[in-house]
């Protein structure tokens, strides 16, 4: 595990996993009292949540509930927005990523992201996947090729594109482009994958393929997925968090949350009474 922030010393157990009071086993991402502001308006209110490793955690809620903002806090993508500000703590493997000293580049290597609209670069398929490794200093041709192949296999795209890696990424179909973006994210060797409505622009066939892929990726990666589609959340996720107006209403095992929600508002939302 790479050290993201200075000053935090963590002990590793025999399996090489980090274990401490801040990072107990079974917690990959721990948010505590996370508030978030765009200028003067507050969009997240004291979110506290423990996201387990190598599971799929879905964030659901109506539009504008802050689910994308929450997701983008986890790799500090909100830094790019003028006037955005977070307070509270978000610990990833016990390290506070909201800390001033946190190395955002190292954080984003560890926490990959897939966006709502597939956004391959206007480059070849190969160059898209190789972009991340190259940025991080991989020059060796053979090593790059290996990373590209492994990443494309990991994203279930290799068989479809192995004979035309030099073709433009724009020649791919929508679903293939999105899987290419997943491969691109895998190529930098992340531990966590953030997905912001990754299938919302895809047709049903491509969507179900992406969902199967997400289930498969869970074996190696901690996945946090934002979706407005409750069936999708129910299908792909192990845990679900329901956000409403910037507050975490309920968080728990997906099966429990969808069949027997504790909160009345969650019940109303998942049964389609609002949102």
């Amino acid at each position: 595990m790479s050290q993201l922030c200075s000053g935090t010393v963590l002990e590793k157990n025999s399996a090489g996993e980090v274990e401490s009071e801040l990072a107990p086993r079974g917690v990959k991402i721990r948010a505590r009292n996370l508030d978030f502001f765009y200028g003067d308006s507050q969009v997240l209110f004291s979110i506290s949540m423990d996201i387990p490793p190598r599971k799929v955690t879905a964030i659901i809620g109506p539009s504008g509930c802050g689910k994308s903002t929450f997701l983008r806090t986890l790799n500090r993508m909100n830094d790019e927005i003028e006037g955005a500000r977070a307070s509270g703590t978000v610990l990833i493997d016990g390290e506070d990523i909201l800390d001033q000293d946190c190395d955002v580049v190292a954080l984003r290597r560890k926490v990959g992201m897939v966006f709502q609209r597939s956004n391959p670069f206007p480059k070849s398929i190969y160059d898209n996947v190789a972009y991340g490794p190259r940025v991080h200093g991989v020059r060796d041709k053979r090593k790059l090729r290996d990373i590209v192949e492994k990443s494309l296999r990991g994203a279930w795209l290799w068989k479809e594109v192995s004979d035309r890696l030099g073709a433009s990424a724009f020649d791919l179909s929508g679903g293939q482009q999105q899987r290419l973006c997943i491969a691109r994210a895998l190529a930098v060797g992340p531990e966590i994958l953030l997905m912001d409505e990754p299938a919302s622009a895809l047709d049903p066939t491509a969507t179900s393929r992406i969902e199967d892929l997400i289930r498969d990726l869970r074996k190696e990666y901690t996945i946090v997925i934002v979706t407005h589609n409750m069936q999708q959340a129910a299908r792909v996720s192990d845990y679900t968090a329901f956000l409403y107006k910037g507050k975490l209403i309920e968080f728990g095992r997906t099966r429990k949350l969808f069949t027997n929600p504790t909160d009345k508002m969650t019940n109303d939302y998942i049964t389609g009474r609002f949102g």
């Binding site: 580049v105 984003r108 609209r117 206007p122």
Partner: protein
């Protein structure tokens, strides 16, 4: 919009049509007059005279209308100006579009506009009084009135065009490319040079060409600082005389309707063709850049 062919609408339409047609008609009129006055030179002057390297339009023995020194001087001065202005302008555009803080951008953008608005004779004056002595001192020359000084001034004049168009191209790179790059852990500099600049490539080519096209026809500044000795351009530090400077300097004293007069029009025609060609290529590149985005 369906326009009523009766009454006020019809008049409005007519007036607007006249406004819209003015520029097209002007270009047409200029082209026609240049062709009419310039083409006769082609049979009044022998080919060997045109191809010679001597420009001696007034002579008691034998006039020579060698075009090479003029055309090559223009291309030389413009090319060197491009070599200076393109890196400088593209660098400035990258900074203004993607590096500068909003406060800086608010200061920098208007100053680019001011540079664009400076009359060329004022810039020529600045060249004469400041740049030429500077060039003379820095390079230890006998005179600062040389090709390099002209190139520097032309570079200044090309900068606003290059910066403005390049900045537009850079800013229109979709934000989702930028986010994708940052999310992969690329630094801001890596994102600029590996994602934004390649994505805006055609627009940057267009910006450079338009800047160059803008200054190849520039007259006043080069007339004032290049020394105006008609000869083949050999060095940055020797005087040259461009096509434009030649036309401006000689048109006033030429015999109306004479051979020399026709040749000057022919030079104008050549200049116009070069400018139009550069602009067409630039427009093509610009369209291409809009297609890919």
């Amino acid at each position: 919009m369906k326009i009523n062919t009766q009454g006020a609408d019809w008049w409005v339409r007519l007036i607007l049509l006249v406004c819209a047609s003015t520029s097209v008609l002007l270009v047409g009129a200029i082209l026609v007059s240049l062709v009419r006055e310039g083409l006769p030179a082609l049979w009044e002057v022998s080919l060997s005279s045109f191809l010679s390297t001597v420009w001696r339009p007034i002579s008691f023995v034998q006039e020579q209308f060698g075009l090479a020194p003029l055309i090559l001087s223009s291309l030389f001065v413009t090319m060197v100006a491009g070599l200076i202005a393109v890196p400088l302008g593209l660098g400035a555009a990258v900074y203004i579009s993607h590096v500068a803080r909003p406060v800086e951008r608010e200061r920098l953008k208007p100053s680019v506009g001011v540079l664009a608005g400076i009359p060329s004779v004022v810039l020529g004056f600045f060249g004469l009084m400041v740049m030429a002595p500077l060039v003379k001192r820095v390079f230890g020359l006998e005179s600062g009135l040389c090709a390099l000084t002209g190139s520097l001034l032309l570079a200044f004049m090309a900068l606003p065009t290059i910066i403005t168009i390049a900045e537009d191209a850079l800013r229109s790179v979709p934000n989702n490319y930028i986010e994708a790059s940052l999310a992969l852990g690329a630094s801001q500099a890596q994102t600029v040079f590996r994602t934004i600049v390649p994505a805006a490539r055609s627009g940057l080519v267009a910006a450079s060409l338009m800047g160059i096209g803008r200054v190849i026809g520039e007259t006043m500044a080069v007339l004032m600082v290049t020394g105006n000795a008609v000869k083949m351009p050999e060095s940055l530090f020797e005087p040259v005389r461009t096509m434009t400077a030649t036309i401006a300097a000689e048109m006033g004293e030429v015999a109306f309707g004479g051979v020399h007069y026709h040749v000057l029009f022919l030079i104008s025609l050549i200049l116009l063709i070069i400018t139009i060609a550069i602009n067409w290529i630039a427009q093509w590149a610009l369209r291409k850049s809009q297609l890919t985005q």
